[in-house]
């Protein structure tokens, strides 16, 4: 299900989006099975989806990107993870949040979102094992 939500007033310009894309590819690189962050254009549509849901993340994200500067390599990210774990976690949350909302990623993972299911009418499962448990002696401490 989708619904229309507004982007926060302060969002990312093209340079910041490019910077985020570089970082996101280090967090989520391409593998034989999965696309990289930039393969799904994470720093555009998927990022905006996160910021519509979590406008509170826009400002801290901008601050984190500014603090990292222009060229970010793995060592910079490791340093941030060690020295500013909360900032790294926020950055990670934005990137992973955007990635795992993407329809292609979800399809590849075999995950189709949280579905409404009907409860089985036949029983709750493991009924025979429960009968055995029911027949065990009381295990509470009398007092």
């Amino acid at each position: 299900m989708t619904e229309k939500r507004e982007l926060p007033d302060q969002t990312l310009d093209a340079d910041h989006r490019l910077q985020l894309s570089v970082i996101a590819d280090k967090i989520l690189p391409r593998t034989d099975e999965m696309p990289s962050a930039s393969d799904i254009d994470l720093s555009n549509g998927p990022l905006d989806k996160v910021l519509r849901s979590r406008p509170d993340l826009a400002q801290p994200l901008l601050r984190a990107l500014r603090s990292l500067g222009g060229s970010v390599d793995q060592a910079d990210l490791r340093l941030m993870q060690s020295n500013n774990p909360h900032v790294f976690e926020m950055l990670f949350q934005v990137i992973a949040g955007a990635y795992y909302m993407d329809a292609r990623v979800r399809r590849l993972l075999g995950y189709d979102g949280q579905r409404a299911l009907s409860l089985p009418r036949a029983g709750f499962g493991a009924e025979e094992l429960l009968m055995e448990m029911m027949e065990t002696p009381p295990r509470y401490r009398p007092c």
Partner: protein, 536 residues
Amino acid sequence: MSDIRVDALIIGAGLSGAVVARRLAEEGVSVVCLEQGMKHEREEYRGRQDDWEIAAMGPWHASPNVRQSPADYPINDDDAAMKPLMFNGVGGSTILYGAHWMRFLPSDFRVRTLDGAADDWPISYNDLAPYYDRTDIDFGVSGIAGDPAYPAYPDYPMPPLPINTWGEKVAAGHSKLGWHWWPGSNAIASRHYDGRNPCVQRSTCGYGCNEGAKASVDLTHWPVAERAGAKLITGARVSQITHDSHGRATGAIYRDRSGVQHRVVANVVILAANAVGTPRLLLLSQSARYPDGLANGSGLVGKRLMMHPFTRVIGFFDEPMESWQGHWGQSLYSLEFAETRPDLDFIRGAKWNLGPSGGPLHAAMFSEGEHLNWGAGLHRQVSEWLGRTAIWGISCDDLPETENQVTLDDGLFDGDGNPAPRLKYALSENSKAMLRFNRAKAAESLQASGAYKTLSAEIMPEYGWHPLGTCRMGDDTNDSVVDQFCAAHDVENLFIVDGSVFVTGSSVNPAATIAAIALRAAENLLTTRREIRGSA
């Protein structure tokens, strides 16, 4: 300042406040409840949306320090080894709780007698049993009676929810080991029940139930209470409980969301603001007559904070189980190691609850050590986790320590300028040994159930779901804050009906016991304080 006059003022519209409000209103007592949060509609919850996981890490997070909503007050938990979780709004923490609905064990009420530590409660399991029976019906619990870990109790009103594929594996594993397990009892409807819909196994219970299947008190109690005449005032943050020159409580002062101050005048004041909010309000209500805070003659207001040390053990299975679905909620539970065992180096024990394992973002955000995994390893982690894991949540019995406490912070304030609570909470050596032992045993359980590997963290400090014990009940006025019916020793028309009054913590989820104690207090109030009815 405008005044409202009423028989009974309740502060807090969560679980305990709702139970008392409903019962008093049904008997014709005029009730006003002040709630600092707002009422939420089911459509607001994000469970049906793609962004449910990222929303759960922000506006629907269970920590007020993460949410930072205008309804919340900040909590200084820098010195707390467990961080408190709660929700401020109509329904309180039942909006976000897992609805694990279990009675305390009989031994929980006799810890001093049986294990030589902590204290006995002034009431027994048998004193509470009739109230458990009633609240099981009021909350609409799904489950199956006959668990040998308990004395006999009546059938639940609904059959249990499915234990799911992972539950069947663990049931078989425990059968092999000869260990206890039982289908989860949950305050989640498995059938249409009293206006609620059956659970759809979407597994987003922890972020608000879109179906109205979970028993949150905004659905189960407040509509009944309001139809009976109870008045619920939202966006009302109480700053002080007032008293007269004889020391009797007279009501409370609150500020609405536009900053206007009001006063409610009442014959009885009932605190239902949880084990952090309640002592905070009592300490905020200090005066010349009560220089250490209201009802604090014993010096125990805020002391003996208990938080249920918690961790998780994750089992990874080869075959896909769609374990992102299910109820979150407990599929099944085990009390195998809940009671004291003479061969172990700690007393008391832990309750385990088995549940589903969340979506891909939850899988990505898990960290066994200090750091999140990233790069190719992150892809592996999510691929191994998603849909193929089952999780034991391990909740350890927490015995009271005077040093673990809630006080007022002198540098942190809520949006209305009231001092925030400051928590000090450290794990005892007993709790640490209990966590270590149960982590190892839970890994053994999952391996016996077919898991090819397990992961766990030493402790998960961010899961402080159950603040308890900061205004304990007891018979001795020097050693407790309220009596066994939740009446304050020092202020005869002041009552505390939330988890603050717990004497020990049990390992079991406290919601059912909070509800039973609140209902018992309400019935006693109706029986013994007839003067309150109709006097406003």
